[in-house]
């Protein structure tokens, strides 16, 4: 075990525990990937190896349509979350406690509120204000959560830097706006990247709120999958889930590569990823 600087029994025990947990975490994912190649009609009965279900998902217009819905909603959510979340994050990090504290409380409430309660409330409200377009409903509902996430990530990033750079810019005569545009924003790009991905993924994967709030032509992929899973596991669901998994891995790898090239330290990246929780610590 020469990768570990400190050897000994305790390290071995810890390492074993970690491996077990990692195994636990990856097991069902690997299972579904393997079973997506099961050509049997029922996933639970292994019938043979083949690409049947992958052909099927290419064929199935429904899956394509719901996938498109999910992507559109997630992108819209990400856009809204980045804008609103960016503003909130800056407020949280830089503004006086008078505004920042209530905002922090509000965002934490949104995060902590049980999904089912939010879903019911949103649906009733959308009906009341007559907002009928399903995808807009979903995007807004998801963005409320996404904004909070982005806000905390941005705050974590900003609070890690002191205001010296911005002070310097001001000393050189830059107006607040110019400072913001040329100094603050570029520094925040890693935070936006991380926050954007987080809000995208949370939106893409959301089940309960999408279930309640969607209309006919705005069914998202997870809702479609949920209906299928309840009715019995079929291979096409495993196939599309695997495909989505590969896509997510790609996104994260690209983001990781960009982050490390742009100089944001690994530690900063990890802290940002956990930035949402970092906020709980501090506030």
């Amino acid at each position: 075990m020469n990768i570990f600087p400190r050897e000994g029994l305790k390290t071995t025990v810890f390492a074993t525990w970690f491996l077990l947990v990692a195994l636990f975490l990856l097991l069902p994912i690997v299972t579904v990937i393997v079973y997506s190649f099961n050509v049997g009609n029922y996933l639970v009965v292994w019938k043979g190896f083949g690409l049947r279900w992958y052909w099927r998902i290419l064929e199935n217009g429904n899956i394509a349509a719901t996938l498109a819905n999910s992507l559109i909603a997630a992108l819209a959510c990400m856009a809204i979350s980045l804008v609103l979340g960016g503003i909130c994050g800056i407020i949280l990090a830089r503004r006086s406690a008078l505004i920042a504290y209530p905002l922090s409380l509000l965002l934490l409430t949104v995060i902590a509120f049980p999904e089912i309660v939010k879903a019911v409330a949103y649906l009733v409200w959308y009906v009341k204000i007559d907002l009928g377009v399903g995808l807009i409903r979903i995007a807004i509902a998801h963005a409320l959560f996404g904004t909070a996430i982005v806000a905390f990530v941005v705050r974590a990033r900003l609070s890690g830097m002191d205001g010296k750079l911005e002070e310097a810019a001001a000393d050189l005569g830059a107006t607040p706006f110019v400072t913001f545009a040329t100094v603050t924003l570029p520094l925040l790009i890693p935070a936006f990247l991380v926050g954007g991905i987080l809000s995208f993924v949370i939106s893409f994967d959301d089940v309960i709120i999408s279930l309640f709030v969607s209309t006919a032509n705005s069914t998202t992929l997870p809702v479609y999958i949920l209906a299928s899973v309840r009715q019995g596991l079929k291979g096409d669901i495993a196939a599309i889930s695997t495909a989505m998994f590969v896509l997510m891995i790609l996104i994260f790898t690209l983001a990781g590569a960009y982050l490390s090239r742009s100089g944001a330290s690994r530690r900063a990246a990890m802290l940002m990823l956990a930035g949402q929780n970092d906020a709980h610590q501090a506030g």
């Binding site: 009609n41 996933l43 099927r56 064929e59 349509a65 209309t215 032509n217 299928s228």
Partner: protein, 392 residues
């Protein structure tokens, strides 16, 4: 089975055009996989598509047809044929309870976005009264004449003003006959076996309150549509005492659980249970239980505010064609009520006795009625039953 495969192959190779669907079938063959229909119903893909084209007749049927229905409730080949021939892609949104579907429609006002909704017979009156569906234009459904007489003038919708039969079916018992070796003939047996050592803890009931309450009333041949509070509470107590301790899950699709060994006996819908025999013909037994059970039917309706009304009518018309209806029945396992459907089923269709009720069964079946059944109380009591099951 291999001869059938060759026949299909030949027909496909002989058909004109290289549609996406043909490609998929060839690809599937190349992978050595059976087609999705659980019967290779002896109808070439191209002939179904031709029918759809004839129906479309150049009329603009739009890009998409949205159907709101149960999951797994249509033959994918039939849907593909409709899309291939008549134009619009079909997108199915699913619900897992009729009440939830109606609630969704109602909440949305006219803007739910569905062009066709599949409604259970007991709920048709409700959706008509709430103005959730619109009147059908019979001039666009000439195939209506193909519907067998008894389905054309139903009490809750005389003259098919709003709805057209999709299919009908019943509920029964499906069990693993290697683990449960005694014979089951009636609901009493079901209760008894459920409590037995072999089955206890591995029983599956359906996930809707009429079916579960039905267990108590059908057992005695009593009126299962009752709204009488006292009777319903008594039924709840019986269920909680005698059946719930042995229940593993409330599941509308028990086939998967039976195959995986999680259940050994289940209450199930006859058509969906039939699929188990395609996987394993011997280890399971199906029963039409005595003395009483329900016969339910599902109907196509067009919601108010549907965007693609023409395509909806064209689709319904398409489904009423005898050949198409036969393909549908052969796959989903429910009789679609169209003239000649049963005769058109291939000889080697799997478990025909689960599509066509055997002699005497229909006489034992009664219809569900929602009106007067006190649905609010029933839902509360059903939640109580499920909560009791969770406490076990």
């Amino acid at each position: 089975m291999s001869n059938k495969t060759t026949d299909n192959e030949i027909r496909i190779l002989a058909s004109e055009g290289w549609t996406r669907r043909n490609f998929m079938k060839i690809a599937a063959m190349a992978g050595g996989v059976a087609a999705l229909s659980i019967n290779g119903v002896a109808l070439a893909a191209s002939s179904l598509a031709d029918k759809a084209k004839a129906l479309g007749d150049g009329a603009n049927l739009g890009d998409v047809l949205f159907i709101y229905s149960w999951a797994d409730y249509a033959n994918p080949d039939v849907l593909d044929a409709f899309s291939g021939g008549a134009g619009p892609r079909i997108q199915i949104a699913t619900f897992d309870s009729v009440e939830a579907a109606i609630a969704k429609l109602q909440i949305a006002g006219g803007s739910a976005g569905y062009d066709i909704v599949v409604v259970g017979d007991a709920y048709v009156e409700q959706v008509i009264a709430r103005e959730l569906v619109q009147k059908l234009d019979h001039s666009k459904i000439p195939n209506l004449k193909n519907l067998r007489d008894q389905f054309r003038n139903l009490p809750f919708d005389p003259d098919n003003q709003y709805t057209v039969l999709k299919n009908f079916g019943t509920i029964g018992i499906l069990y693993n006959n290697k683990i449960i070796t005694e014979e089951i003939k009636n609901w009493d047996d079901f209760f008894r076996v459920a409590a037995s050592k072999a089955a206890s803890g591995r029983v599956c009931l359906l996930n809707d309150q009429p079916s579960v309450f039905g267990l108590v009333f059908w057992r005695e041949g009593k009126d299962y549509n009752t709204g009488d509070e006292k009777k319903l509470r008594e039924a709840t107590d019986i269920l909680i005492k005698d059946l719930v301790p042995h229940v593993k899950a409330f599941d509308a699709r028990p086939v998967q659980g039976l195959l995986s060994g999680d259940y050994v006996i289940a209450q199930g819908y006859q058509g969906s249970c039939r699929h188990i025999f395609a996987q394993d013909a011997e280890n399971y037994t199906w029963v039409y239980p005595e003395p009483q059970c329900v016969v339910w039917s599902d109907h196509y309706a067009v919601p108010t505010g549907a965007k693609n009304v023409d395509a909806a009518h064209a689709f319904i018309n398409f489904m009423l064609d005898p050949d198409v209806a036969a393909a549908e029945t052969g796959h989903i396992g429910y009789d679609t009520g169209v003239e000649g459907v049963i005769e058109k089923l291939p000889d080697d269709v799997i478990r025909k006795d689960l599509i066509v009720f055997p002699e005497g069964v229909l006489d034992r079946l009664i219809y569900q009625k929602v009106e007067g059944s006190n649905p609010t109380l029933r839902i509360d009591l059903f939640n109580e039953i499920k909560a009791a099951a969770a406490r076990q």
